[in-house]
Amino acid sequence: MEYQAALGLALPLGLGLAALGCGIGIGMAVNGAMSAMARQPEALGRIQIAMIIGAAFIEALTIYALVIAFVLSGKIA
């Protein structure tokens, strides 16, 4: 397999896999935050901020894969 073909297959696939994992992670985080907010509506603001920061940490992993995809996508064609 030529390396261009390998890259063309692997970049979207890797990005998709990263997004899959982060999707599961963010789903769990938002799930916990939502039930916490439903139980204690008075702590809504603090829970929301903590959730957003946690979600940003999780999302950053996909972003790293995206950066790699941007860096390597010039070598496909």
């Binding site: 940003a56 790293y64 995206l66 950066v67 995809a69 064609a77």
Partner: protein, 321 residues
């Protein structure tokens, strides 16, 4: 005199960030502009056809990325020979690491535009300080400041007043830079790694400096050694690595998010001309709404993480380090 100090601090911090950005920016200066040949003015039209005609230039590493046209691009396209000649003459006297390209000037220009808008707004607003203010501009700024104060006091506690000039400025500055890309003919300077790296490096040094000032040298080193002191062969490298990774992840997160968002907008804007029809649909419009949310969230996260890094370094009473 004293009332100008806060404004001057803001201007100084912003200028520092730009100056650091100029030197950090070179590393990612290979861009789409070199890749897409001479179709600068029609960057959007050329965007989806990247595989058709205009390929990449030979020796460029780094991916080509699509972006919406901005006015500096047009300036370059109309005065191509003069500008390229000038850049070549300037670069001839510089070592290879410091070579200037048009992209760097472009990003710095947008940074400076944001800074000029923000600082002139802040300066004119702070001139009209009264006990019972009448100017709406001043009231607006005060509302922004109080909102930011309440927000960051969740993390910083009683030290908020001391550290809000840095983190609040970071929030406003990053938010304006992120949203700048949504204005036609403008570009988000945060979609370049250098600008974010500059801000992250400033935060890194400020955090270390705060730790030394607040804990003293001994407390600073005790923080690196960790709780059971005999674990130090393991803990010291781990803590140093953790400190060094912080600015990298901080800047890469912002850069990747904004670059991805801008690329998405440009790709969908390029799809508009591909669909035949009488009416051109604004296909990228829903993504602009999404970009509004993401810009705010990313600015919030950058400044919030900076505040958290500062708060982690402050002396806390419950345990010793």
């Amino acid at each position: 005199m004293r009332k100008y100090v806060s404004v001057l601090t803001l201007v100084a911090v912003l200028l520092l960030l730009v100056a650091a950005g100029a030197s950090a920016q070179h590393s990612d200066s290979t861009s789409a502009r070199d890749a897409s040949g001479e179709t600068h003015a029609q960057a959007v039209e050329a965007a989806p056809g990247g595989d058709a005609g205009e390929g990449h230039g030979g020796g460029h590493e780094g991916g080509e990325h699509y972006e919406l046209p901005n006015f500096m691009m047009y300036i370059h396209a109309f005065n191509r020979q003069a500008i390229d000649g000038w850049l070549a003459r300037v670069n001839a006297g510089l070592p290879p690491l410091l070579h200037i390209e048009w992209v760097n000037i472009e990003n710095l220009t947008y940074c400076l535009i944001v800074i000029i808008i923000l600082s002139s707004f802040a300066i004119t607003a702070s001139r009209k300080r009264e006990l019972r203010p009448k100017s709406r501009q001043y009231l607006f700024m005060e509302n922004v400041l109080v909102g930011l104060y309440d927000f960051f006091s969740q993390v910083l506690g009683k030290d908020t007043r001391k550290y809000i000039p840095l983190v609040g400025t970071l929030f406003v500055y990053i938010l304006c830079m992120n949203l700048f890309g949504l204005i036609p003919l403008m570009k988000s300077p945060t979609s370049v790694w250098g600008v974010n790296a500059a801000m992250a490096i400033c935060v890194f040094f400020y955090v270390q400096w705060t730790a030394i000032v607040r804990n003293g040298f001994l407390g600073y080193f005790r923080h690196f050694v960790g709780e059971p002191w005999w674990m130090f062969p393991l803990m010291v490298p781990l803590h140093i690595l953790e400190e060094l990774i912080k600015p990298i992840s901080l800047s890469l997160r912002l850069f990747g998010n904004i670059l991805g968002e801008d690329t998405l907008l440009a790709v969908f804007a390029g799809l508009i001309v591909l669909i035949p029809g009488v009416i051109n649909l604004p296909l990228h419009f829903p993504f602009m709404l999404m970009a509004l949310i993401f810009s705010t969230v990313q600015a919030l996260i950058f400044s919030m993480l900076a505040a958290i890094y500062i708060a982690l370094m402050l002396p806390h009473e419950e345990h010793g380090h």
